[in-house]
Symmetry: C2
Subunit: 413 residues, 2 copies
Amino acid sequence: MIYVRGMTTPSGDERAVPGSPADVLTLIGAGSATTRADLARITGLARSTISQRVDQLIESRLVSETEGGESTGGRPPRQLRLRTADNVVAGVDLGATHCRISLMDISGRTLATHEDPLLISEGPETVLAHVDRRIRGLLADAKLTPEALKAIGIGVPGPVEFATGRPNNPPIMPGWNAYPIPDYFTERYNALVKVDNDVNVMALGEHRAAFPDTRYLLFVKVGTGIGCGIIAQGRLHRGAQGCAGDIGHIRVSGHDEAGCRCGNSACLEAVAGGGALARKLTELGFPAESGSDVVALVQAGNTQALRLVREAGRLIGEVLASLVNFFNPEVIVVGGVLAKVHDHLLAGIREVIYRRSLPLATHHLAIVPTRTGADAAATGAGMLAIEHFLAPENINRIVTEAESAKTPTSTGG
Amino acid sequence: MIYVRGMTTPSGDERAVPGSPADVLTLIGAGSATTRADLARITGLARSTISQRVDQLIESRLVSETEGGESTGGRPPRQLRLRTADNVVAGVDLGATHCRISLMDISGRTLATHEDPLLISEGPETVLAHVDRRIRGLLADAKLTPEALKAIGIGVPGPVEFATGRPNNPPIMPGWNAYPIPDYFTERYNALVKVDNDVNVMALGEHRAAFPDTRYLLFVKVGTGIGCGIIAQGRLHRGAQGCAGDIGHIRVSGHDEAGCRCGNSACLEAVAGGGALARKLTELGFPAESGSDVVALVQAGNTQALRLVREAGRLIGEVLASLVNFFNPEVIVVGGVLAKVHDHLLAGIREVIYRRSLPLATHHLAIVPTRTGADAAATGAGMLAIEHFLAPENINRIVTEAESAKTPTSTGG
DNA sequence: CTCTTTTCTGTCGATGATCGAACGAAGTGA
DNA sequence: TCACTTCGTTCGATCATCGACAGAAAAGAG
């Protein structure tokens, strides 16, 4: 099910009378209407008008029609669906050391997923060539041609200038600064390309998959570092420079001894990130290099690891308690590697938030572990791609082009 | 000049082809178009269509027309303006101990302002009766009838359920909980009524008056308490329960001894609010009761007061440094009583933010004192009123009603 | 099994909003 | 005074939408 923006308008703006083909498609995609009669009832447009719009959408290969609707006492309606057969997108999750790609159809269904180890530090040319090969492989496995790929969404582990899709001084992506990632793919595919921060696409994926009706959501990723994706009014909040949600370098009290790679001390990430926990465990005699090692120790029942994770939860909770007062979200989702031991992490987080935040803000606040797990980023990137493909401007453009291609505009004589 | 939402669309949605009377009015109100020919050029609609729309707006008494445009070589255009003669709003700023009301026309110009001492604790009936009298007084002074008042915006010192305009367990407004403020005025005026938190309307006022093109702005009010109004995408962010921006009870490190009226300790407000500073000064032998007294001591050159204000700035800066990383605003405006000594307050705030926040987030960040000063809340409340009056739904309703009133729908024969 | 009722979908003339050409109005400049 | 330009209005033409009608395809009654 696709997320609708507009239509059911909480804030009361957006267009009042949905008329264009894109609006009709949105209703079909959202599952709000599955037949022509439904569409007429919902939009208030005449059935003849709806039929015409639907014809345009079918002509444009955006909608498919199937027989076999349930009769409610009369002629059974023909079912309308997004045409998923040859409209797919790729959701690409690039991490520091992995590349995970999901092939999804435009209704949001995942067709296939593939994960590889891949070092982002090898630079854009190498990494993107790998991504290109994997996408072609997934398309071939699904017996699809590259023409079926309509959009690509990519999440990368660093700040991105969203409008241009260029990384903005990313600390752990050497060679990627200002590299025009979209160009690489628009030269090779006839597809839209959108690039965003990995935490943002995780937030998007979690929101669309698990909390589509939530208006204000925070997705906290606790991995080697700590970051936060922000959903406001159902949309990603990226901030003025596109670096909103970078909570890993917020100061926590009482840890001025902990130096951080950013140059400051007492950063949340430097005391509660997976890397920091691994270091502390190593010092205590339990060798660990990464967040995954910490998780392994917790799962093996190591009490020191368990204690550290719970304490990390409290520290993260201290920062989140501030953000709850400031932002007043409905849901906080905790993801990232450390979320695999969310029992202990969430206990610490909840404890502090419920003690420190305002009752009005916490009364209806849910603090939950991720439901999408390791898929969050790839599906989120896919959702980013789908939503840009289904955006009104794009749909209306496609329909208009299909129309003008059909009518030869009577040139010559 | 009125703030436009939509039209110049940064995010790329909103309606593409502006057609309705409300869209035409928006362009006139924003000053984007002052003549029929302008409107035709901007909207792309035919001049005849525009003329028809403008006629409707003039008929509905929303637009006025004046001769005397500058000729550019041909017939001079007639100038179109919002009809301000009999379209005014009231912006009401209710504080703990004062009531300030601005009468504004719908173009945003302030016609008159009146401030009274008034205790909010006297309860809704008493306070609102006072407001009612003052509004009638201001209208009479401006030689306007109550019919000219189209909308009322009200800022109150406590949380409000914005949709209904009812205070939500406000701590310093005894007797006001869940009181339906809008009803009081809709029974007495034919006007729209919108109620919001005082910090929110201050943020709105500052944004519209001083930073209309800024997309992400924080307005920090440092008075007896400390609060924050949030502008995101040019709109107020109110959060899930409408209590977003309540930063006064965020914990600051190293002050666990400071108890707060909320029951927790080390709250920002309890260590850096005007009330807290006054208490500390009193202990040091300089009697002070409120934030104003603190300001007076600073202005008198009291070094202890000066030191405390600067230290308060650092503490506020510590909290804001976190919020800059999280929210990534373009502008932070500091207002409230303590902003009268903003030299010292801002020094502390800037010092900490520039040290603790991410360079990417602070690079283009402006941290400035309020420009609207004591008018922030009243003008912001007026802006709230104006924007609701000029909202497309409302304008289209007014025009439609005027149309149907003119055509007698040929009943009977 | 037939006929009626119901519901869905397409067709086609009617309607009404918008357009665009033409015209009058009101200025500038040679 | 006479082009020339720009602005605003008028009015017939046009095109999207509507709504009545008819056909299609099922359920249900007799």
